[in-house]
């Protein structure tokens, strides 16, 4: 029995927040709201847990720092020690700029890649787009159902919470 999504639409951030809050109480297996822009407050309404992304970024940053430190100290002090203008081999102040840059570089790049690739599972061009106006001025609420039988009750529920032109489409959420 293929999974299906029942979708209903709203036209303002307030409505969708309200709706998602209600939907959450019914604790469906899986549901999501689709909005043209980040609607603030919807996270709490949907009960989304805080993202773990910052830890990933921090880790990456530390790796960058370590790599920069290792590279500079190793090349200057051990692999190729040279007398450069009579300066000491371990020239920490001179290493600072590159320590900083590589930290930022790895942290930044990893953040973006992890966000899209791991958390959003993007790129993925195969998921259904319920309505072209979701990226324009519509706010969609989609509830995933496991069987044909569940479709109708869910539709009814959506009607209760004032969703408009409700319809259902095949495929996962």
């Amino acid at each position: 029995m293929a999974k299906q999504c029942v979708v209903g639409y709203y036209f303002s951030p307030e409505e969708i927040i309200e709706a998602t809050a209600k939907t959450r109480e019914r604790n469906f297996a899986n549901f999501d709201a689709f909005t043209p822009f980040p609607v603030h407050g919807i996270d709490q309404a949907m009960g989304i847990k805080r993202s773990t992304l910052p830890y990933v970024s921090f880790g990456a940053g530390m790796m960058g720092f370590g790599a920069a430190f290792g590279l500079q100290v190793w090349t200057h002090m051990f692999n190729w020690p040279l007398n450069i203008a009579g300066k000491p081999l371990f020239a920490l102040p001179a290493y600072v700029p590159i320590l900083f840059e590589l930290t930022v570089l790895l942290a930044g790049v990893t953040t973006v890649l992890a966000m899209f690739g791991y958390y959003l599972k993007l790129p993925n061009w195969n998921k259904p787009i319920f309505h072209p106006d979701i990226t324009n001025d519509r706010f969609a609420l989609a509830i995933e159902v496991n069987s044909e039988a569940e479709v109708e009750p869910v539709k009814r529920f959506l009607k209760e919470i004032h969703a408009q032109d409700i319809h259902h489409v095949g495929g996962e959420l």
């Binding site: 303002s12 951030p13 307030e14 998602t20 999501d32 709201a33 689709f34 909005t35 043209p36 822009f37 980040p38 609607v39 603030h40 996270d43 949907m46 989304i48 805080r50 993202s51 992304l53 910052p54 970024s57 590279l71 500079q72 090349t75 200057h76 692999n79 190729w80 450069i84 300066k87 020239a91 001179a94 290493y95 700029p97 590159i98 900083f100 840059e101 590589l102 930022v104 570089l105 930044g108 790049v109 953040t111 973006v112 966000m115 899209f116 958390y119 959003l120 993007l122 790129p123 993925n124 061009w125 195969n126 998921k127 787009i129 072209p132 106006d133 979701i134 990226t135 324009n136 001025d137």
Partner: protein, 453 residues
């Protein structure tokens, strides 16, 4: 609304969400206007000529440029610093103003970031062609493992710090920009009539659907990037200033350079943003989104940073006198009264005098005036770098090797060429990328239930 710089509505002419998409996407979907075609043709031609001359330099020798002993750095380093400086405004608007919750930035951050990226691209060319053997410096400046026994780069050299700083800056800015673009690409995809646009923007949008769970991670990531970019943007020009401050040349060897350079960078950057937006908002009639309030806010920043720069100039002189170092003193007298006085006073006129007009609200909101002044500031900031680079080198320690530096036809042509490149890229951006972050603008627009966000 707290912490907000302006109290007027951020978007005028009470628009609906749909209007935003329609207005912003119009240039992408309509056939290019004559104006655009002419502008693009012109700047593309200039860019091509510029690259031709760079080719000449690479094949024949660095000697075409006016650089000579003792002035080893000339047009190319000056212009490099100039463009890097221009870039800074973009990151500042997108990152720092974001952290400060300046919602008015949403209208301009997209084009400002684009400007950053293009400016850094222009800047990136110069250090490369400035070297005597670009075909080597293109990769010898990176610590690449090699088979020549231990052979590494010098991590003590400010130029190497530059390499890392600029490449990091470019990468992060690009990622930042693209992250912001993904939802808007999705908008363009969803309203696309012809299938090519659907395919292309569909591909670029990575299949974005606007899921709230996605938005959650997205906003966190955006916050982190902003957090990273803020120190980055400050570090980049700091490190560029190290190229001078770390050396022993009188007039260069000063600790004031990092803040002085960063302020100057933001100063010139904002001027460039004003220049571009005053044109863009008219040409693509986005006046309701990029309002006079926005421009005024930027003019305030120009005024502030202009004052900082002016203070820096004064401080330099004071320290030169106070230090009692004859070489230092001589250099600064040279700058103001010597053979380069003309350049120095152009700099003062453009950077210190011209922003003073912005004390007056009426002038701050006067679009033709601010356009002219922003051009002045850009000229002035180029000359600031000219004064710094040239005067110190031309008359340093040993009078015997003093010489007068002149730019050659080649120098001028390549400077113009770099502007050609910059505008070519910017015009392409206006054609093919939503010039305003639609999603972000919507999030700060008044809704039926009053102001949201």
């Amino acid at each position: 609304m707290k912490g907000q710089l302006v109290t007027q509505p951020l978007v005028e002419g009470n628009k609906s969400y749909a209007d935003v998409n329609n207005d912003v996407c119009r240039p992408l979907e309509s056939f290019p206007t004559k104006l655009w075609l002419v502008a693009f043709g012109a700047s593309a031609t200039i860019m091509t000529i510029g690259f031709g001359l760079i080719g000449l330099l690479i094949f024949m020798g660095t000697g075409y440029s006016g650089i000579r002993s003792p002035v080893g750095w000339g047009m190319m380093i000056i212009t490099f610093v100039f463009w890097i400086g221009i870039g800074h405004a973009g990151t500042l608007i997108s990152a720092i103003l974001f952290l400060f919750k300046q919602k008015w930035r949403t209208a301009i951050n997209r084009s400002a970031e684009a400007m950053t990226i293009f400016a850094v691209m222009c800047a990136g060319i110069f250090p490369l062609i400035h070297t005597g053997r670009p075909w080597y410096s293109a990769y010898w400046l990176f610590p690449l493992p090699n088979t020549m026994g231990p052979l590494w780069v010098n991590f003590r050299s400010p130029l190497l710090w530059d390499v890392f700083a600029v490449s990091t800056y470019f990468t992060i800015s690009l990622f930042f920009w693209y992250t912001g673009l993904v939802p808007d690409f999705a908008s363009v995809r969803d309203r696309a009539k012809n299938w090519i646009r659907k395919k292309v923007y569909g591909f670029l949008s990575l299949g974005w659907r606007g899921s709230s769970r996605g938005w959650h991670h997205y906003e966190i990531a955006y916050m982190i990037l902003a957090g990273l970019s803020t120190p980055l943007v400050l570090s980049v020009h700091t490190i560029v200033s190290f190229d001078f401050a770390v050396s022993i040349i009188p007039g260069w060897h000063t600790t004031i350079f990092p803040p002085y350079f960063v302020a100057g960078a933001i100063f010139s950057g904002f001027a460039m943003v004003v220049t571009l937006l005053v044109i863009a908002r008219k040409v693509f009639n986005l006046e309701e989104y990029i309002t006079v309030n926005h421009l005024e806010a930027m003019n305030k920043i120009i005024l502030a940073t202009g004052m900082i720069v002016g203070l820096a100039y004064a401080t330099e002189f004071f320290i030169a006198w106070y230090s009692g170092v004859p070489y230092e003193r001589y250099i600064f007298l040279q700058r103001a009264m010597g053979p380069y006085a003309w350049a120095y006073w152009i700099m003062i006129g453009c950077n210190v005098i011209s922003p003073q007009f912005f004390w007056f609200k009426s002038l701050r909101r006067n679009i033709p005036l601010m356009f002219v002044l922003s051009l002045f500031v850009n000229v002035g900031m180029w000359f600031e770098r000219f004064v710094i680079v040239v005067t110190s080198l031309a008359t340093d320690y040993l009078p015997s090797s003093w010489n007068y530096f002149k730019l050659t036809w080649w120098d001028y042509s390549v400077l113009i060429g770099s502007f050609g490149m910059f505008f070519t890229l910017f015009l392409l951006f206006c054609r093919f990328v939503p010039t305003i972050a639609m999603a972000e603008v919507k999030s700060v627009m008044p809704t039926k239930g009053g102001h949201h966000g």
